[in-house]
């Protein structure tokens, strides 16, 4: 009997707990809405305005300036390629310092983790905006912004992949009297390659999107076309640029997916 009673109480407790968390959650939602003066009527009004805007002002697209877009579109791709290559190289080094099974010294690990988590928490567009102040308007600040963020992002995911490599491989290499460098070359790197490919391709996809919006803060590429045409209310031209962007991203995604499938 007493046993049954205890379980009943536990159930009851769980129920009350659930109620409380629900109330707590609703309270947060209410508070959040109050904080930004949110109301549903406005939302209900805004969404049709937003969609109407897209369908009336953006369509039909105006293709008259397409030739002018070629340069910035290529720039966008080039920036993404360079940023991905440079950050994957830097991230690789950081990752080896950061991963618990490859770090030369625990101090390296902590210092690198700190730097990486700082760089990663700041959006790349903010880095880019700040670098525009340093290097002036152009592709360079955008490129550096993407590299800063991308290096931090990749360093973290690379390090996680390296840590997932089992100790079996490294143990055997260690047992034959190999050096630290040998262990990296012969056990860690071969096992890390598939995730390296996969994450680097993923980073390229992110960088392509990133590179496409850098122009918003004055860092060149497709983004400056979007910002420029919108500032002049030439929305039908904006939609052409966005369509080019969509096509570019979908094509790249298709290619990277195919490459990923073929990696063994």
């Amino acid at each position: 009997m007493s046993h049954k009673k205890v379980t009943m109480d536990l159930k009851e407790q769980k129920k009350i707990k659930r109620y409380f968390s629900l109330i707590f959650f609703l309270l947060i939602v209410g508070l959040a809405m109050w904080y930004v003066d949110f109301n549903f009527i406005e939302l209900a009004k805004s969404i049709p305005v937003f969609l109407g805007f897209i369908f009336t002002d953006f369509l039909p697209p105006n293709f008259s300036d397409v030739k002018k877009y070629v340069g910035p579109v290529l720039d966008t791709i080039f920036v993404a390629v360079i940023a991905t290559c440079v950050s994957s190289f830097l991230a690789m080094i950081l990752a080896i310092f950061m991963a618990s099974n490859t770090t030369p010294h625990p101090v390296f690990r902590i210092v690198c983790r700190g730097i990486v988590s700082f760089l990663r928490s700041i959006p790349f567009l903010l880095w880019a905006a700040l670098l525009v102040v340093v290097f002036g308007v152009g592709v360079l600040p955008g490129l550096l912004g993407l590299i800063l963020y991308g290096t931090a992002f990749l360093a973290r995911v690379y390090a996680e992949s390296v840590e997932e490599i089992g100790s079996e491989c490294t143990e055997a290499i260690e047992a034959v009297g190999a050096t630290y460098v040998h262990q990296l070359k012969h056990a860690i790197i071969p096992q890390f390659i598939p995730s390296f490919f996969s994450w680097t391709l993923f980073m390229f996809e992110i960088n392509l999107r990133g590179s496409a919006i850098l122009g918003i803060v004055g860092a060149g590429g497709i983004g400056s076309l979007i910002k420029g045409t919108m500032d002049l209310f030439q929305y039908s031209k904006t939609s052409t640029v966005i369509m080019i962007l969509i096509t570019m991203i979908l094509v790249v995604e298709y290619i990277t997916t195919r490459i990923r499938e073929r990696i063994i």
Binding site: A175, V176, G177, T179, K185, H186, Q191, I193
Partner: protein, 256 residues
């Protein structure tokens, strides 16, 4: 017979509490094939790993060819490890590399960081590796990737890797525990015959008493981190084996 390995009063404590090994004394001579038996968790694996310091011993001495392993610095430890082959329960091959590359890893202990970094193995070494693979019956698998092999094949690659080191001593940690009986026999035969033929001293962790009796020149029994038996196979009575495996008797025969 010349002494290869001498262990004096070896003790290993984990986290300053759990005693994994307690005062082990052992002497291994050239040409000996020693089985280390005992139930799982007795400390067999720890003992083997303390010899080449994959696990740092807490106290005691390990003397390999007259050199104190526990006092060796990094460079000295490398040289010692290069002369001690190791075979693992889970084969510990690098799955995405070719069989040949995995065998050649046995030479890394004799190479500088730079040479090893660029895989500059000599042609003689490569041919020797191929020769070893032929010898264990893997000539068709030489250029396959390690993850394409079966368990028994992987373990034979592991044996070749150890043999490439030209070792004075081989440590085999449960080499057949993950294998089916047939592959297990092939693997044990391969280890045994090559060690005897080349006069390599060998320490094999096993939990099956029958197999230990079949192959060993000497058997060591370990129970809760203590050495409780050390004699020739014919001296290992049934009572003794039951004592060693007390509480875990089923492991004596069981093939995991």
């Amino acid at each position: 017979m010349s002494t290869i390995l001498k262990i004096i009063n070896l003790t290993k404590r984990y986290n300053d509490e759990t005693l994994a090994l307690e005062g082990i004394n052992l002497e291994v001579s050239r040409g000996e094939f020693i089985s280390v038996i005992g139930p799982s968790g007795a400390g067999k694996s720890t003992l083997l790993r303390c010899i080449n310091r994959l696990i740092e011993p807490t106290s005691g001495e390990v003397i390999f060819l007259g050199q104190h392993v526990e006092k060796a610095n990094k460079a000295e430890l490398r040289k010692i490890r290069a002369q001690i082959g190791m075979i693992f329960q889970h084969y510990n091959l690098v799955p995405r590399l070719s069989v040949l590359e995995n065998v050649l890893h046995g030479r890394l202990g004799y190479m500088s960081s730079i040479k090893g970094l660029f895989s500059l193995y000599s042609e003689e070494e490569k041919e020797e590796a191929i020769e070893w693979l032929r010898k264990v019956g893997l000539e068709k698998e030489i250029f396959k990737r390690a993850d394409e092999l079966s368990g028994g094949q992987k373990q034979r690659v592991g044996i070749c890797r150890a043999m490439m080191q030209k070792p004075k001593l081989i440590l085999a940690d449960e080499p057949i525990a993950s294998l089916d009986p047939k592959s297990a026999e092939v693997v044990m035969e391969t280890i045994y015959h090559n060690c005897i033929e080349l006069g390599i001293a060998c320490l094999v962790n096993l939990h099956q008493v029958e197999i230990a009796k079949k192959y060993s020149t000497r058997i060591i029994g370990i129970k809760s981190g203590k050495l409780v038996f050390d004699d020739t196979p014919d001296k290992l009575t049934d009572e003794m084996s039951r004592f060693i495996y007390e509480g875990k008797e089923s492991e004596m025969y069981q093939h995991q």
